[in-house]
């Protein structure tokens, strides 16, 4: 199987703190891979390294075989690496329609276009509609984003990342904070993501992890602790120990 995303010996130090400790990780093409670990394990730092928000102290990152370690965040997005944020990062004053339209026109190279009115191209309209339907946002397209229900905001967060047409999609706790009533819709759309997009899911919610992922990596103290199939990891006594907060002898 080909590798969609790979890190080799990735290290990030903040002063004396080692937030990412020599992580060598592979995400296979089309994978549904979950990254779990207790709070403060360094999962979000790892995501920030992958997306280029912060620079690694050492190590390399490859996207579909090409090194992207030194690439600026927006260029990584253009190469097909998109993410969602654990805490909603949206444009509060814009509507979902504008937000998705923005992402689509950026991806299709329209962002430099300063003369045509946004939405004057047929392909862009079609794609906005397709994404809005996929993420069940058609009935709230014209609302101000800040007025949307939280579950809808989470859906929009994923929709925007999806509008970048990623080859690899990093989902940082997509279900965090979503009320029970809106959860089902969110999980269904996540499960229905097309298989040609490789997904790395960072999540605390074990129900979501077990229902969605086919591989799981466990991160503890910035290092990869173990990796395996859902069965292997869920029955691993060491993983249970980590999650129950007991010390593990290594």
């Amino acid at each position: 199987m080909t590798i969609a995303l790979e890190t080799k010996g990735l290290v990030k130090r903040f002063g004396g703190l080692v937030a990412t400790d020599n992580v060598s990780f592979k995400l296979e093409q089309g994978a549904r891979h979950a990254l779990i670990g207790p709070n403060g394990a360094g999962k979000t730092t790892f995501i920030n390294l992958l997306t280029g928000v912060i620079k690694p102290t050492a190590g390399q990152i490859f996207l579909e075989g090409q090194e992207i370690t030194g690439l600026r965040p927006e260029l990584r997005v253009q190469r097909g690496l998109a993410r969602t944020f654990q805490i909603n990062q949206l444009f509060p004053a814009m509507t979902p329609l504008e937000t998705i339209g923005l992402a689509v026109s950026e991806r299709t190279g329209g962002g430099h276009d300063w003369w045509r009115v946004t939405g004057s191209k047929r392909e862009i309209i079609d794609e906005i509609v397709e994404i809005a339907q996929r993420f069940r946002l058609t009935d709230v397209l014209d609302e101000r984003t800040s007025n949307l229900a939280y579950g809808k905001q989470r859906l929009l967060e994923i929709a925007v990342a999806f509008a970048c047409k990623p080859r690899v999609l990093l989902l940082d706790e997509p279900a965090a904070g979503v009320p029970e009533a809106e959860r089902h819709e969110l999980l269904a759309t996540v499960a229905a993501l097309p298989r040609d997009v490789s997904v790395l899911l960072i999540e605390h919610d074990m129900d979501l992890v077990f229902s969605f992922a086919d591989r799981i990596s466990v991160m503890v103290n910035g290092a990869l602790f173990t990796e395996g199939t859902v069965e292997q990891v869920s029955t691993d006594p060491k993983v249970r120990a980590v999650y129950l907060g007991e010390s593990v002898d290594e």
């Binding site: 949206l90 950026e106 329209g110 003369w115 009115v117 939405g119 925007v160």
Partner: protein, 344 residues
């Protein structure tokens, strides 16, 4: 079902590019003043120039979220460029306008790299600093600029070889209004384009804008350069139509006034600068006629009220009041388009 949505999506997006009745009225009225208010052309000319200057600030502040306390740097550079060219025998106004735009754009481009780093406070200080530096250079280089005495001996040729400037300011006003209108059309296109949308997204959330693949810095450099060119043209218009340039064009109060004008009229809404300029000048006129020594007190007080009460709330209150007065028969009283700042 999905074609319905597609039509809706297209209509919603494209609608922003269309001109509202209020907008068309606004410019018709502006054009009409060329014929109906001949004795006011000198002050109208000044209003239009301040309006264009404020429009330029709105491009960076309202649409891209870049704060500036030194926008006069570009205004002043444009004024001096056009003024010096005209003094030294290049009397064609449009040529001067172009040169001023290029000079200001160059300065904008170069300083954008300083301005775009750091927090809002850094931006305020850096922009302020650039304007101060330019002001001092203009003061010291009196062989070029006339220093504190001002730049004298500007003689403008006719516009396009056809329209001579007159002492009533009619040609001047027509000229400034036309230039401002053309630049307004351009700005209006820009803010509804995908590029304009990306600017708004950067203003709202730069982190997310990057995550969508937007090259944030490049977009900001572009708009800062463009706004600088606009400000330079506004300055050039002032130099050409008043045929005089003094150090005042680079002064701090110019940068502060233009911010004031924009706040009065509304930020992030292209008409804000123009309306603000009208209100500002009229207020200045009325108040200083009534109490010449204390007009700044009243302007200051009005500013405080506007900022504290929130312009949107004030206009909303006026709208509600008007609806109450006009009853249900009158439709849409405002001559301004209803689209709020965030939508245009």
């Amino acid at each position: 079902m999905s074609t319905n949505i597609a039509d809706h999506v297209r209509a919603t997006l494209v609608r922003r590019g269309r001109w509202g009745i209020g907008e068309i009225l606004f410019w018709l009225i502006a054009a009409a003043t060329l014929y109906f208010l001949p004795e006011r052309h000198l002050i109208l000319n000044e209003i239009v120039i301040i309006g264009l200057f404020a429009l330029s600030l709105d491009l960076i502040l309202g649409y891209a979220g870049i704060v500036s306390l030194g926008h006069a740097a570009f205004f002043g550079l444009g004024a001096y460029t056009a003024g010096i060219l005209a003094r030294d025998g290049i009397a064609d106004p449009l040529l001067g306008l172009g040169a001023a735009a290029i000079a200001a754009a160059l300065l904008g481009f170069v300083t954008s790299f300083l301005v775009l780093r750091g927090s809002d406070l850094t931006k305020l200080m850096v922009t302020l600093g650039v304007a101060l530096v330019l002001g001092e250079i203009a003061n010291q280089a009196s062989w070029l600029t006339g220093g504190a005495d001002g730049l004298q001996g500007i003689a403008m040729g006719p516009i396009l070889g056809l329209f001579e400037f007159d002492i009533f300011g009619t040609t001047a006003y027509g000229y400034s209004l036309t230039v401002t209108f053309l630049l307004f059309i351009l700005a209006r296109r820009i803010v509804v384009s995908p590029y304009g949308l990306s600017l708004r997204s950067i203003r709202d959330n730069p982190l997310k804008a990057r995550a969508v693949g937007i090259p944030v810095n490049r977009r900001l450099v572009a708009v800062y350069t463009l706004a600088a060119a606009y400000a330079g043209i506004a300055g050039a218009l002032l130099a050409q139509t008043t045929q005089f340039v003094s150090l005042d064009v680079l002064a701090f109060h110019r940068s502060a006034d233009v911010m004031l004008v924009l706040v009065i009229g509304g930020v992030g809404y292209l008409y804000g600068g123009l309306i603000g300029a009208i209100v500002f000048k009229v207020l200045q006129d009325v108040i200083s006629a009534w109490t010449p020594q204390y007009w700044q007190f009243w302007i200051g007080l009005i500013l405080v009220i506007i900022v504290l009460a929130g312009r949107e709330r004030l206009t909303e209150r006026v709208r509600v009041l008007w609806k109450g007065v006009a009853g249900r028969t009158a439709k849409s009283p405002e001559t301004l388009p209803k689209t709020s700042a965030r939508e245009v």
